[in-house]
Amino acid sequence: MNNDDFMKFLASWALVHETADEGWKAAVERGMGHEPGEMGQGPEAFVDGLSAMVQERKEQLKAELASGEADAASTSTDVSEHLDDLRFEVSELRGRLESLQSSLDTLLSRTEPGAGIGAE
């Protein structure tokens, strides 16, 4: 690839970017103007609606990055979800143990001297 080819490649890249950017901005603008439910009215409406949703998330991400909260928030969310899962597993195990303990106590009480062993 000579110098001219390389410059042409970069120019093409810039042009793609610029064209995409203009198209993107237009799609965001159209998407922002959607009525609720309009996104389902065909592929164009879908792309416009999606662009507006992405733009909204982008602005939110920008704000999070500016305040330095993004990483801390996602780490703490991950840990908290993991902790919740663990807590549930432990509680679930406790539930099963409580049920088994009841059955065991019942059986033991029937085998104690003086207790009648009978079927219901």
Binding site: S12, L15, V16, A20, G37, M39, G40, F46, G49, L50, M53, D84, F88, S91, E92, R94, G95, R96, E98, S99, Q101, S102, S103, D105, T106, S109, R110, A119, E120
Partner: protein, 451 residues
């Protein structure tokens, strides 16, 4: 045993004759014939009692084995049988927990609040506070639902079915009935009955469901009291509310039925597409609406599972249904194991597109009609329906029925659109998908610019 066989034969003969009349002695359209047979079968099962009601319930979740008409008709089975005397229930509780119901609970009502073929439910009061697996502590004095398996029911149901099995299989090997795998159903029956009679399974699934939706203030799952739960007894919080059929009353009290119905559909989609486990038996008797406007889920006896790899394809099939795209529906159905033989692909595609146009293009969209038609098209093309796929189709239709019971004008495909759209967007934007497509997209863009 002989008198039981004679009774089964009598009911079968009478219902068979009625089905023949309903089907105009075979001259009616296929769908009319199947509907007439299904109705008489359902009425016969109700007449014959618990064993047959359970068999019918099993048919109702197996669209892979039985015609769609049978599957949906069996949903109407009324599982209500005369209650057992409280003394028999009391003996089960005493046997399993070593104390009388009066000792274990602050009080218990001897008249059951519900009585079905496998178990009956008594209202009771919690003696000491209890910390459940999920949710807040249940204070002493909380109202409970104590569900107790009828003593000996598993054995008697299996005996009843075993007595009739040879005759039913001989009958099923005749003519048009040959295509239904009654033998496979009998084999599965014992296994599912065994699992259903162990109420701890249901309690575990209820806890899991409660945990999955712990952040959703609209979803309510009764809390399980594990120390008073055994194989044959499950003790849960009693939830007061309206069955879906009584919702007129609730609506009058200002509950937003439309929002609840949409929320219910969202809960189902989230269960299937994100969590991978879903309540597969959501008939109207298993869903309550509470006075404070929440949806209460009961009876987790049948649970469906979806694997991560399947969820993408299910989302695509769902989106295809929502947007009426037959090609997409068939392409992604194939990834779920619904393989149409190459020689039938074009005919099936055309039939599905035409069915979508009739049932889904205009409101009010008929999801149930679409599902029945879809399964019938597959059956006619000789396509086997995978078990999981059939269960999912059935569950989706049932959810639509439940949503309509809450809010009759609901259009479930409209309600599912935002969810389907979001899922597809997520899939399109996944790093793997972008990495896969980006080079081709850039190359195409450069070609366009160069041209």
């Amino acid at each position: 045993m002989a008198s039981r066989r004679a009774r089964i034969a009598g009911v079968a003969g009478r219902r068979g004759a009625a089905a023949l009349v309903g089907a105009r002695f075979g001259l009616a359209r296929r769908s009319v014939r199947d509907a007439a047979t299904a109705r008489q079968l359902r009425l016969g099962f109700e007449e014959l009692g618990p064993a047959w009601i359970k068999l019918g319930q099993l048919i109702s979740v197996r669209p892979d084995l039985f015609p769609a008409e049978w599957v949906f008709e069996m949903e109407l089975l009324r599982d209500s049988v005369p209650p057992m005397p409280f003394s028999a229930i009391s003996r089960v509780i005493e046997h399993d927990f070593g104390g009388s119901p009066q000792e274990l609970f602050a009080s218990i009502e001897e008249v059951p609040v519900a009585s079905a073929s496998i178990a009956q439910v008594h209202r009771a009061i919690l003696r000491d506070e209890y910390r459940p697996v999920v949710g807040d502590v249940l204070p002493a004095g909380s109202v409970l639902a104590v569900k107790v398996v009828r003593p000996g029911v598993e054995r008697s149901v299996l005996e009843d079915i075993a007595a009739a099995r040879p005759a039913v299989e001989r009958f099923a090997s005749l003519g048009a009935l040959r295509r239904f795998s009654l033998s496979a159903l009998f084999d599965e029956f014992a296994e599912s009955l065994h699992s259903e009679c162990d109420l701890r399974n249901e309690a575990r699934v209820a806890d899991r469901f409660a945990f999955d939706f712990r952040a959703d203030p609209v979803v309510l799952v009764p809390r399980v009291v594990w120390p008073l739960t055994s194989r044959r007894v499950v003790t849960m919080e009693f939830v007061d509310g309206w069955r879906l059929s009584d919702l007129d009353d609730a609506a009058r009290r200002g509950i937003d039925g439309r929002a609840l119905a949409i929320h219910g559909a969202d809960v189902f989609l989230r269960s299937v597409l994100e969590l991978g486990r879903y309540h597969a038996d959501l008939h109207p008797a298993n869903v309550f609406v509470t006075p404070d406007g929440r949806i209460c889920y009961l009876d987790f006896g049948i649970v469906g599972h979806t694997e991560p790899a399947q969820r993408d394809a299910i989302a695509q099939v769902l989106a295809a249904t929502v947007y009426g795209d037959a090609d997409r529906a068939l392409v992604y159905s194939a990834k779920l194991g619904l393989v149409v033989p190459p020689e039938h692909v074009e005919a099936v595609r055309a039939a599905v597109a035409s069915l979508m146009a009739v049932t889904l293009s205009e409101p009010p969209r008929d999801v149930r009609g679409f599902a029945i038609g879809f399964l019938r098209i597959m059956n006619a093309a000789g396509v086997s329906i995978p078990v999981g796929y059939g269960l999912l189709v059935k569950a989706l239709v049932t959810v639509e029925g439940v949503a309509r019971a809450i809010y009759p004008d609901i259009d479930i495909t409209e309600a599912a659109k935002p969810y389907a759209t979001r899922l597809i967007a997520q899939q399109m934007m996944s790093p793997a998908r972008l990495a896969e497509r980006m080079p081709a997209a850039i190359a195409a863009a450069l070609r366009e610019l160069a041209g």
